[in-house]
C-alpha cells in the first residue's frame, strides 16, 4: 500500500538535544579512517579558525538518523523499515558540527512519491544548536521496496 501523501509537509517536534563530544568525533573519524587533525586536535582546529575540534562532514548523519526515527517508525505513516534502502543524501552546512554543540533536529516530510512501484520518502532535517544557530540541513530520501516484489 503506498504511503499516504497527506504526510507531506508534516513537521515533527524538535528532538532532545544531542551533545557532541570530542571523543565521539574522534571515534567517528577513526571509523572512516580519517586522521585529519581538525577532528582530533583542538589546537589544529583552532589554527583553522574553529573554536574546538570539528566533526567530519558526514557525522551529521549520526544526529539526523536518530531524528528520522520519529518519521520512519511513525505507526501512522506505516513505512516497512525492513524494506528500506537509502537513495539520496545531501548536506548543506552553515558551519561544521563541532565538539560542545548541543544539537536539536526538526524533521519535516518534504515529499512522498511512488517510483516504479516503490515508495520514496524524502525528509528534511534542520539541525540547530539549542541556542538556535543553524548548523546543517540534511535532505534524505529513502526507498521502501514494494511488498510484492520478489525477494530473489
Amino acid at each position: 500500500m503506498p504511503l499516504d501523501a497527506k504526510f507531506i509537509g508534516r513537521t515533527y517536534p524538535p528532538t532532545e538535544p544531542y551533545e557532541v563530544g570530542r571523543e565521539k568525533i574522534r571515534e567517528f573519524a577513526a571509523a572512516i579512517g580519517d586522521p585529519d587533525p581538525a577532528y582530533n586536535d583542538p589546537e589544529a582546529a583552532k589554527a583553522l579558525g574553529h573554536p574546538d575540534v570539528i566533526a567530519p562532514p558526514t557525522f551529521a548523519i549520526v544526529v539526523t538518523m536518530r531524528a528520522a526515527d520519529q518519521v520512519v517508525y511513525d505507526p501512522e505513516l506505516g513505512l516497512d523499515y525492513s524494506r528500506v534502502v537509502h537513495r539520496d543524501q545531501k548536506f548543506t552546512y552553515t558551519r561544521p558540527v563541532r565538539a560542545g554543540d548541543r544539537l536539536t533536529v526538526v524533521t519535516t516530510v518534504d515529499d512522498i512519491k511512488v517510483l516504479a512501484g516503490n515508495d520514496v520518502l524524502t525528509t528534511r532535517a534542520e539541525v540547530r544548536t539549542v541556542e538556535g544557530e543553524h548548523v546543517v540541513t540534511a535532505l534524505s530520501s529513502l526507498v521502501a521496496r514494494a511488498a510484492d516484489e520478489s525477494e530473489g
Partner: protein
C-alpha cells in the same frame, strides 16, 4: 574557515588528488559502532544474502564519508565544505577476505561559483562500477 586552496588558483577542470580507500568487514563493524547504524546487511553475510544482496555491503554513508575525504584533504580545512550530496546507485560489496573491497575516488572542479566558491564533481567507483550517482560538493575557497 580557511581553505588552503585559493579560488584564484583553480580553473574548471582542476583535478583533485585521486585516492583509494580499503573497506573490510572490520571497517564496517567499526563504522556501525561509531555511527549507530547496526543494520545487519552491513556485517552479517547470511542476513545480506537472505534479503537478496550479493553479500555484505558497505553503509552508503561510509562510502559518502570516504568520498568527502578527497575534498576535505584537498581543502585543508574540512569546514570549507559547504554542500555535499550523493545518490546511492550501487552497493559496495565487501567480501569476507583480507583485502575486502576498494573505493576509488577522483574529483575535479566543474563550475566556478560566486563568492569564491566552486563546485567539485566526484567519480566514486568500486570493482569498476560507479557506486555513487552525481556526487557533488560545493566548496568555499580562500
Amino acid at each position: 574557515m580557511t581553505a588552503k586552496i585559493s579560488f584564484d588558483d583553480v580553473v574548471v577542470g582542476t583535478e583533485l588528488p585521486t585516492r583509494s580507500f580499503p573497506v573490510t568487514r572490520e571497517t564496517l563493524v567499526r563504522y556501525a559502532g561509531a555511527s549507530g547504524d547496526f543494520n545487519p546487511i552491513h556485517w552479517n553475510g547470511r542476513f545480506a544474502t537472505d534479503v537478496g544482496l550479493p553479500d555484505v555491503i558497505a553503509h552508503g554513508m561510509f562510502t559518502m564519508a570516504e568520498a568527502a575525504r578527497v575534498v576535505t584533504d584537498w581543502l585543508g580545512d574540512p569546514g570549507a565544505l559547504v554542500e555535499f550530496g550523493v545518490r546511492f546507485t550501487k552497493p559496495v560489496v565487501v567480501p569476507d577476505t583480507v583485502e575486502g573491497a576498494t573505493i576509488e575516488v577522483t574529483g575535479k572542479v566543474a563550475v566556478l561559483l560566486d563568492d569564491r566558491r566552486a563546485r567539485v564533481d566526484l567519480v566514486v567507483t568500486a570493482a569498476g562500477a560507479k557506486v555513487l550517482g552525481v556526487p557533488r560538493a560545493v566548496v568555499q575557497l580562500a
